[in-house]
Symmetry: C2
């Protein structure tokens, strides 16, 4: 290592030195460029293949000439629209550049060095990364049958616990915890003899897909009773605005008040604000997207069953599966060469698995076709 | 204070408890809504009133339907374009959601609690905020005639100094430090008997405007000699893309390598990547914008002179001025009611001043007209 490099490494915060970069799903263009393929489909990042609402597209086009202005730092119109839509006060709304950023801002706002953060093993990896960024102790609780084990997570909470992250449904397993399980967890954490309860961050990025399940918890109604609850939602999934980066959430007014002081002043860009606001006027796009995902998930699971491929039943728009005897990384590589981008699950500690987004009917057929080629070989 | 509120406040990191929110320039729509005014112009946030390049607008419109995809996490095309444009390697390029985010990521990556950060008094306020977020000691060095006093800043550097921020030209004064001053600073900091030199972060958000001055430093050529140098630029100002949030920078490869590990994976949104890439193909828009700003700045200064209003000669696209005997806050309020948004400078510790962006000719005339009314009253 050169002296210069060594010197710079010495300047870096010790807890950041061992960080690995987050590995994102590769864009279609990247794979086309790297492998010289013409037809490539991406089933890697749980995007909504029906795309954004036409109303959002119109809003973006008419905003294009206006982007020389800074965004509204207070996202006034978007907050009004969310408030109206979910019957909450603007003072209870969090906004960020994806719920990803809201997670990080919560970490910056609440996490002291040596605080503990409880996560579930195999949960969305960004919780752990946010804890580590702030030099916390991240306590990872084993899952129970691919699901968050909320009872075990409640037992892991102690007086040093600053936050518990619950992904519901969870990425990448697609499983969810029921209303009953969640309420038991919340009340058991509250009655523990702690001077302060931990924040309970419910990440509901796939909320709209999970709502078809009757026992899926409606958390918004719990906020009054549990002011330590933070609910995260996003425009990146069913609303088809992943590329613009806009997530939202609900929390107690005091949490929002402090959040506003710490967040970057222009964290939700102008285009994102306008497109998200317009999207909330298009309930049909959401309905259509849920129906298609439901029907296609059914079809995909049927096909996987015929091929004897094990998968985890999912409440979201993706499926975690194990294509034996291959490793997830091998499956990823082989499918890539056939023009299908999926995600290997090594960083989620599932080296045998891949996660596949439920796509358009034609995309799902192409995926199943590629899997058949892979298995035959 | 309610018990609930008290409890949440106890959970917050002690160094964040006293934070005040950043006060951004208010958008035109907000003022129209709040004051019931029809004609409102914004000269508050140093945006380029000529707007984004037509090429950028075209790129945005054609990207509108594609935003259901996540952005390219590596911003491949944009980095290639910047590399080509400035003759650097992609491995030397930093990207962020505005240079604002780059500043914060540098803080997260390098600043330990109790590290010292040297800034100039009356410099862009976000440096101080980034230092405070990481619980650093922020050392503010007095200015000399509205300019960064680089000699005094060099003297303030000691073995605990992790970074020095230099805004060049500075916002809100519009002043710049010359090539000679900067080189003297860099070499004097390097020869100090420190085990590690501090990072020297040059914020050149208004670079393109300042280039008309021959003695304005060309910092890119200094990067090889000073690997502790970090140069920040932005697409928010002359490129007219403030609303999309995209800043860039240049640094040593090792700095970039670690930066990539800490930054949010999708920090530059899809629309921003495409618009910024297209903007770099339009050199004429930059030229036109510089010429207009130069000519209009001259006109404005002439008018201010006639009205006996003192101002600081500016190398950027804004002017700091003192409209005696009124306070900046009073001027701000009065001009607001006349439909002109400017910025009061209280948070920069210039309570007697306002900062006014150089706008379109018609906007500048409207501003001068409003000032005349204000003075007459």
């Amino acid at each position: 290592m050169s002296d210069k490099k060594k010197q710079i490494e010495q300047m870096i915060r010790p807890n950041c030195r061992g960080f690995e970069p987050y590995v994102a799903g590769k864009p279609v263009e990247t794979i086309q460029r790297e492998l010289g393929l013409k037809k490539v489909i991406k089933l890697a990042s749980n995007e909504n293949p029906l795309g954004p609402s036409k109303k959002a597209v119109k809003a973006m086009k008419s905003a294009a000439r206006k982007v020389f202005f800074y965004p509204d730092s207070n996202s006034w119109a978007l907050k009004q629209k969310i408030a109206e839509n979910f019957r909450v006060k603007p003072a209870n709304i969090l906004l960020g550049a994806g719920s990803d950023e809201i997670i990080e801002i919560i970490a910056k706002l609440f996490f002291n060095q040596a605080d503990e953060v409880v996560v579930s093993e195999h949960a969305f990896i960004r919780y752990k990364m946010a804890g580590e960024l702030m030099n916390c102790k991240v306590v990872s609780v084993p899952m129970k049958g691919f699901k968050h084990d909320l009872d075990a997570m409640a037992r892991a909470v102690n007086s040093r616990t600053k936050a518990v992250f619950i992904a519901n449904p969870n990425n990448p397993t697609g499983t969810y915890n029921t209303k009953g399980e969640l309420e038991r967890f919340l009340s058991s954490v509250s009655v523990k003899s702690l001077s302060l309860p931990p924040l309970v961050v419910m990440d509901e990025a796939y909320y709209e897909y999970a709502l078809v399940n009757r026992d899926y918890p409606r958390t918004l109604g719990l906020l009054k009773k549990y002011p330590n609850l933070v609910i995260l939602r996003t425009f990146s999934k069913i609303y088809g605005l992943a590329g613009l980066r806009v997530g939202y959430g609900f929390a107690d007014e005091t949490v929002v008040d402090y959040y506003e002081r710490v967040r970057p002043p222009f964290n939700v860009n102008l285009m994102a604000q306008r497109a998200a606001t317009a999207s909330l006027n298009d309930k049909r796009q959401v309905k259509r997207s849920v129906s298609m995902a439901e029907a296609q998930k059914k079809w995909l699971c049927g096909e996987l069953g015929k091929l004897d491929i094990e998968y985890v039943p999912s409440a979201a728009n993706f499926i975690l599966m194990e294509i034996r005897p291959f490793s997830g990384r091998y499956v990823f590589q082989k499918l890539l060469r056939l023009g299908v981008i999926v995600r290997a699950m090594d960083e989620y500690d599932y080296p045998g698995f891949v996660r596949v987004t439920v796509g358009l009917p034609s995309e799902n057929r192409m995926f199943i076709g590629a899997v058949k080629k892979l298995i035959k070989k």
